[in-house]
């Protein structure tokens, strides 16, 4: 492969990577800062068993989502590496 092709491939890979990051970090911000902090009082009107929903997001839910986010990222990136032939 020529160097320009190599460079374009790297650029395309980077663009897709950035797209994943924007989506995943938006969810990260949504569950913690939006649900757990800014909208907590509104969400507290809703109940999840013994929990008020805003409180649940702040002390439980956001952490569960964080764990899922990282594993989704790992999966997405492994696939992306394969697609571009960057896996080791």
């Amino acid at each position: 492969m020529s160097t320009t092709e190599e460079k374009n491939k790297a650029k395309a890979y980077w663009r897709e990577n950035l797209k994943y990051l924007v989506i995943l970090l938006s969810i990260w911000f949504l569950v913690s800062c939006v649900f757990g902090i800014f909208l907590r009082e509104t969400l507290n009107e809703i109940r999840l068993g013994g929990f008020k929903l805003g409180f649940w997001f702040a002390q439980q839910g956001s952490i569960y989502v964080f764990v899922i986010l990282i594993f989704v990222y790992v999966r997405l990136m492994n696939k992306l590496d394969k697609k571009y032939g960057y896996e080791d």
């Binding site: 790297a10 890979y13 980077w14 990577n17 990051l21 995943l24 970090l25 990260w28 913690s32 800062c33 757990g36 902090i37 800014f38 907590r40 507290n44 999840l48 068993g49 013994g50 929990f51 008020k52 409180f55 649940w56 702040a58 002390q59 439980q60 956001s62 952490i63 569960y64 964080f66 764990v67 986010l69 990282i70 594993f71 990222y73 790992v74 990136m77 492994n78 590496d81 032939g85 960057y86 896996e87 080791d88």
Partner: protein, 592 residues
């Protein structure tokens, strides 16, 4: 068997394990010493990262703090776990690909400047020393509470243990000890949590028990909210901080976690970029077990405490109350002379700690000299919520002893990781990279070991003679990391145009601004000025949350300065392009 015998047995077993590993995992090369040879498995690295990062504060203090401040405590839960997402997505894979030993290494090479490297080393030393002092104190407290040794003797025992496995094994020794320490601390935290959850709600999973009904058929959280309102406290699930401040503190802790050098360096120890990503995920999963159980423990402990003591006669209280009163962590002043404990909102004491006098009161209670004029009669130290919880819930003696072993594992593992960062900064970033590049590998290894020795002694002195500001500053180590490292690393990866002028200006202004705010509003300058009151905070931001603002300023300054100065050289731009691609990571420490 008594609690004390059990504690000696469990602490003895765990300590012998740590020593055994230290001897087995001796480091022979700088690569083994700095990054454990670079071939730790993702799972082992995840466990080590978990132990590295869950400190004495996470284990002993966090659940206690949350149980006293309720919703406001969410900042620690979200902040310290959310930072991992940033670490996993924005830093770990790229820094692993870059493949050097330390964070200052990255900053120095990426910004083609020894000035940048030196600024980064200084930031790393400030962050690590403020943090490690708290750990040593934590070790001392556990020893003195459970084994009735003098707190200073406890600190010295802790120093010796850390020294042995860090000195011999470097990162290799530390990594494998931390794997064991993770197991010890998570077991020690979860066993009492499961017992208590089952006892109070019939559900053995604390995360679910927290939202379940108690024996009386009322949801635990509702009952707690009602009790709080009745006693004049803020509702448990609402808290009292402003929304902005909760946000600022959470953000500062998130970004600070991602910028802590002793955590970042862990991702240099795995083989491939793929492993670095996976390892960050596993680390968070393993950490989340404790972090989702801790708020449940807070709820159980708070409910238990209020139900056991509120409006009860002192003479009918269970034994644990008197045991902890004897250690000075609980105090009661019978202000209205009815022999019962009035526990309501307000400070029971004038001043922070109770000042006991020799004689006993009418009911055999310890008398205090500094009772306040407010109605509240009870003083409870927050740290005892985790330590005393098993006793409050009447759990068997071995469970109580387990908590001591867990607290020690948490404090020692974090201290070891930090000490390694300190010694690496000195031997690698300062001596090898700047003062004496011709130094042999053997010489560098010796320098690393000597600097660990010095770091342990200094940390121990901080633990034995804690200057007043240390405790206040530990929480701010995150703000410092957020204000200095995080922007420089992120822009080093994501902004190819970022140059040394921008990065250095950003880091210096960020950390100076943070230090200034800390000194002005939190610690004061001893003998010169006292901290200014909260009413003068900028935009109502507490010093703990100010890292968010200092970090933003760092980003803006760096952007502006970099666009007004020349672009970085072509070779550096090529480094950036190279770290964005995962393949061909090579081993840490090799030159690319």
């Amino acid at each position: 068997m008594s609690v004390q015998v059990w504690t000696w047995i469990l602490v003895g077993i765990t300590f012998s394990l740590y020593f055994g590993i230290a001897i087995w995992a001796r480091a022979g090369s700088t690569k083994e010493f700095y990054v454990a040879g670079g071939n730790v498995s993702p799972l082992a690295n995840g466990m080590a990262t978990g132990a590295d990062w869950m400190s004495a504060a996470s284990f002993i203090s966090m659940a206690g703090i949350i149980s006293f401040i309720g919703y406001d405590g969410s900042v620690y839960l979200m902040g310290w776990t959310g930072g991992y997402v940033l670490l996993a997505l924005l830093l770990a894979p790229y820094l692993r690909k870059f493949g050097k030993f330390t964070v200052p290494d990255f900053i120095g090479d990426r910004y083609y400047s020894n000035t940048a490297r030196t600024v980064a080393v200084i930031c790393a030393l400030i962050v690590s020393f403020t943090y490690v002092a708290g750990q040593m104190r934590g070790v001392g407290i556990v020893f003195s509470q459970f084994l009735e040794v003098d707190i200073n003797v406890g600190v010295i025992i802790g120093m010796t243990v850390v020294l042995v496995f860090a000195f011999l094994g470097g990162m290799k020794g530390i990594t494998y000890t931390q794997v064991v320490q993770y197991c010890v601390l998570i077991f020690a935290f979860m066993v009492p949590a499961i017992f208590i959850s089952f006892q109070m709600t019939g559900n053995p999973i604390p995360q679910l028990g927290m939202g379940a009904k108690g024996a009386d058929g009322v949801y635990l959280l509702d009952k707690l909210d009602a009790m709080h309102t009745e006693l004049g406290f803020k509702e448990y699930t609402s808290g009292s901080k402003s929304t902005w401040d909760v946000f600022a503190i959470t953000m500062a802790l998130m970004v600070g976690t991602a910028g802590l050098p002793h955590v970042i360096v862990r991702f240099f120890t795995v083989k491939k970029v793929k492993d670095a990503r996976k390892s960050a995920g596993l680390a968070l999963l393993l950490i989340a077990i404790l972090y989702t159980a801790a708020p449940a423990v807070s709820v159980f402990a708070r409910t238990n405490l209020i139900e056991t003591v509120s409006n009860q006669s002192y003479s009918e209280l269970p034994q644990w109350f008197k045991t902890w009163e004897n250690t000075g962590l609980i105090a009661w002043a019978d202000k209205n002379g009815d022999g019962k404990i009035q526990y309501v909102n307000g400070e029971a004491l004038a001043g922070k700690k109770p000042e006991f006098i020799e004689e006993r009161g009418a009911y055999g209670q310890r008398m205090i000299a500094n009772a306040s004029a407010e109605t509240n009669e009870l003083y409870v130290d927050r740290d005892i919520m985790v330590l005393a919880n098993p006793e409050i819930a009447n759990l068997p003696n071995w469970v109580i002893a387990l908590v001591a072993a867990g607290g020690l594992a948490a404090a020692l593992s974090t201290a070891a990781g930090l000490l390694l960062v300190i010694s690496t900064s000195v031997s690698h970033d300062l001596i090898k990279k700047q003062l004496k590049p011709s130094i042999s590998e053997k010489g560098e290894l010796l320098a690393a070991r000597i600097s660990i020795l010095f770091a342990v002694v200094i940390a121990g002195l901080f633990g034995i003679y804690p200057p007043g500001f240390v405790a206040a500053v530990v929480a701010l180590a995150f703000g410092l990391a957020a204000a200095s490292f995080f922007p420089a690393i992120i822009m080093g990866i994501f902004d190819k145009r970022m140059n040394k002028e921008g990065a250095i200006a950003g880091m210096i202004i960020g950390i100076v601004l943070m230090l200034f705010y800390m000194i002005r509003y939190k610690t004061g300058l001893i003998g010169v000025m006292d901290p200014r009151p909260a009413s003068e905070w900028w935009f109502g931001t507490s010093p703990e949350g100010f890292g968010t603002i200092a970090m933003t300023v760092n980003f803006v300054v760096a952007m502006v300065v970099s666009r007004l100065t020349p672009a970085p050289p072509i070779e550096v731009q090529e480094i950036v392009e190279d770290i964005r691609i995962p393949s061909g990571a090579g081993e840490a420490g090799e030159a690319h």
